[in-house]
Subunit: 213 residues, 2 copies
DNA sequence: CGTCACTTTGAGCAGGTTCAATCTTTGTGG
DNA sequence: CCACAAAGATTGAACCTGCTCAAAGTGACG
């Protein structure tokens, strides 16, 4: 499903490729209009800043994802790379007004709407789910987006820290840690080092995630 | 800023106008693809269903707003009219692939991105704000979207109930009520009946909303 | 092998929920 | 126009989930 090296985006629109090392790259985002980012390689997080060290991670974006950086909102948002990444920038103004909707435009719009869909899903999670449900919902989402099948179980290599997971799910690191410990004791997952998580019971996890499905 | 009677949307795209009485109109939404809704008149809410009477109101949409109904997400979403409304439906497939990007297309995309911006703002609110901050943030947003200036103060005629406010902000009706009472006692707002709220101290409200701004 | 950042675990606390009772608003029919 | 009913809103008291603060443990990298 991912766009390839000579992907449609750059084929018909004025994009700007950027290789970013792990870390911040806020300078690259224009503040005057909405920016659309396509992740060609790596992992990126979109962070909302509420002041006083309060952060809400609005989204994690992986290879092939599109991320819309909001403008004209009261919470300032910035982008950060969790790994060395290659991204393309695109101003929303350029998407339609220049004419020439090509093959890639529909795909791009689809991905923008997918981004919006994930945002709605996050709202439901933050507004109405318990800590247990949030963690399980997060693990299920990660499984679907970056899980690798490995003889039976699904393996996750999480590129984000406990703090970042907490800042995404509206929880503290302590609560994240406790919930993961609990899931480990229930044999729903197994952990190995800081970033690796094996999903032992995908169905159990989905049940605990508390969605309708 | 709102589109007018012969608005660009219908001028270049296959839309479907629908007059809906107050209440549900879920049947009208196709389940097979993402649906984009333009509110010509009235007020609409987008509801995410988490089962067991748990609801998250993802968005309220007023005249001139565009609302994207997410598809392919694990939380089913439905639309409801809070008043008699007139809305236009548009499938995302039809937006770009048919060619002919017209004047309205850019405007429409802008509004889709505005919808996404509001969704990000909501995530920040739900993930990281206290009950007090949520209520104040909500009032400030409503002030900006549907507030009417009336000799000095700004007046709101809220079309939603306390329950709906709670289901939007991730709070119970009791907490919403208590917070409003508290704001009334601090002389930040005044209430009149169930739906009318006068904003007496807009700046104070913004300060209590806890955004950076 | 030592250091530093990150993670885990524990104990006490607090903001918001739950449950229950009362009060207010709104709409309806006499 | 008033009385009544039903839905919605407010208030109170007890409780509970997740937070805060603190300390100990673990992994990653020089």
């Amino acid at each position: 499903m991912r766009m390839h090296a000579s992907h449609p985006l750059s084929a018909f629109l004025p994009t700007r490729q950027l290789r970013v090392p792990q870390g911040d790259f806020d300078d690259e985002i224009g503040t005057d209009g909405r920016t659309i980012v396509y992740i060609e390689e790596g992992v990126v997080k979109l962070v909302g800043h509420l002041g006083a060290d309060r952060e809400q991670i609005a989204a994690f974006a992986f290879e092939g994802d599109v991320l819309v950086v909001p403008a004209h909102v009261s919470t300032p948002h910035t982008l950060h790379a969790l790994k060395d990444s290659v991204v393309y920038f695109l101003r929303s103004d350029d998407l339609l007004l220049k004419g020439r909707p090509a093959t890639g435009a529909g795909q791009l719009l689809d991905r923008i709407l997918a981004d919006l869909g994930r945002s709605r899903e996050l709202s439901a999670l933050l507004g109405r789910k318990s800590a247990r449900e949030r963690i399980c919902g997060f693990l299920v989402e990660m499984e679907e987006r970056i899980g690798r099948r490995e003889n039976g179980a699904v393996t996750l290599d999480l590129p984000m820290s406990r703090r970042e997971i907490g800042d995404h799910l509206g929880l503290t690191i302590e609560t994240v840690s406790r919930q993961l410990t609990d899931l480990r004791e229930r044999r729903a997952i197994a952990t190995c080092g800081r970033s690796r998580i094996d999903i032992l019971d995908p169905q159990g996890l989905r049940a605990l995630a508390g969605s309708v499905d």
